[in-house]
Amino acid sequence: MSAVSGFFASIGQAVLNLLRTFGGACLLLGRVIRSLFPPRFDVHETWRQLYHVGVRSAPIVAVTALFVGAIMVLQSAYFVKRTGATSLLGYGVGFTVFAEVGPILIGLMFSGRVGANNTAELGTMVVTEQVDALRALAIDPLRYLIVPRFIAMMLMLTLLMVLGDLFAIAGAALTSDALLGVDWRVLVANLIESKLLDELVMGVVKATTFGVAISCISCYFGLSVTGGALGVGRATNNSVVANATAIFMLDFVVGWIYSL
């Protein structure tokens, strides 16, 4: 095979892999939605996942959001000082954090922590025959393992986004007060006056779609594991890359729909 044909073959293979992942995740999403109407899933396992996915992710999301808010203020500091437009600081921070930077960074953080962990956990369950054990006990792995994770990730990433927005504002207010000398009350008042409800809602909608994508992609890779520990590592790696790609693509799609 010549270098040129090898190049095109590798591109073709990459496209096929992408389509396979997309198709697999979409099929899984379809089966999950079908299991929700009427609801047929394990409630106890859902509570367990809500705790693991949501409560245990809250500290890392809060810290991330705190610094996101602080960084936005730092980035704006030069222009604020130069123009003296301190009254625009709240609007600038709110707009960027609520609509774009917040959802993306929190989504990536969530994907790295929860999505990767989910793929590794399900993959390990596959290679150690725990998924087969569920089936042998007449339990549908979709209803016991996948649907609770789907609900937990979708719901918790949405709530974590709201929590993240609050911490981002706190980070921005503290930084503006401490480093720029802009009273935090001025920033918060400006933020409220800016009426950024659309941006806030858009950020939360993005977080919900990210939660759906991360759950389906990470579960798909977890359940597709073959080849023991090596396969689990490979699937986890692929899951992180696919989740990050999906986050940026969905961010664009949701943003575009809002711009119509």
Partner: protein, 253 residues
């Protein structure tokens, strides 16, 4: 044995499974009756565990079919298959214990997942779990996690979980793999005890531990290269082919 033999609980008909172009099971015809303990033996990698996984349809056949009391597994809908699987107990080669649950929760799990109308109440489930743990000599391990147990203990927990609901069909996939001789003897003694508890159950044991299997198995099925090369009682081994006699060794001749 006639096709209508009422004692036949599992019928395997022309079963074939292909991996990467190779038939790992090639036209298996077998019948497993109520009340018998069948030893499924043969060289490693020749299809025993694959055959076992076809019985509750954990794997789909590429050819042939498995029939459980008249139900053709390949044609059942999901909820019908679930009802059939509730009749099985399965001990996995690699334990397959749920590592996020304690030992007690692992064993209680099959009972807790039963439909509400047939599920025992919480106190009854707890009592049965404690009793079964005592039966397998692990009364102290109720609150421990699988990662805190030795291989032999995990096997016993797997055995307790598989049999907690007193299933009609119990499948053991290499229950003594990787265990020392003393622990292996304990495991086979437990298999025997579990069968005595439900004498009408159909039990299939895959193992290489022929000496210990001999104490519990009523009938032998030998698989080689995906085909059944022997199916009979211990006394029939002496009249079997050279390959079969060599596999079972002098003790069986």
């Amino acid at each position: 044995m006639s096709a209508a033999d009422p004692a036949v609980r599992i019928r395997v008909e022309g079963l074939g499974k292909r991996y990467r172009g190779e038939w790992v099971l090639d036209g298996i015809d077998l019948a497993f009756r109520a009340g018998e303990v069948v030893g499924l033996v043969g060289p490693g990698g020749h299809g025993k565990s694959v055959l076992l996984k076809h019985l509750p349809r954990l794997l789909d056949a590429d050819r042939g079919r498995v029939v459980i009391d008249g139900h053709v597994l390949g044609t059942l809908r999901a909820f019908e298959l679930a009802r059939v699987r509730e009749r099985f107990g399965y001990v996995f080669q690699n334990y397959a214990l749920f590592d996020f649950m304690t030992v007690g929760d692992n064993i209680a799990f099959p009972l807790r997942q039963l439909a509400a109308k047939v599920r025992p109440d919480a106190a009854q489930i707890l009592a049965r779990v404690h009793q079964r743990l005592a039966d397998v000599g692990l009364a102290h391990a109720f609150a421990q996690f699988p990662r805190e147990l030795s291989g032999g203990m995990k096997k016993r927990v797997g055995l307790a979980r598989a049999t907690i609901a007193d299933p009609e069909i119990t499948l053991y996939d290499d229950p003594s793999a990787g265990l020392d001789p003393v622990t292996s003897s304990k495991i086979f003694a437990l298999i025997d005890a579990m069968h005595r508890r439900v004498p009408t159950a159909t039990t299939v044991v895959v193992s290489h531990d022929l000496d210990r299997m001999r104490a519990v198995c009523h009938r032998w099925v030998m698989i080689e290269r995906g085909k059944v090369v022997f199916d009979g009682v211990t006394e029939a081994i002496a009249q079997a082919s050279e390959v079969v006699r060599r596999f079972f060794g002098e003790a069986f001749s």
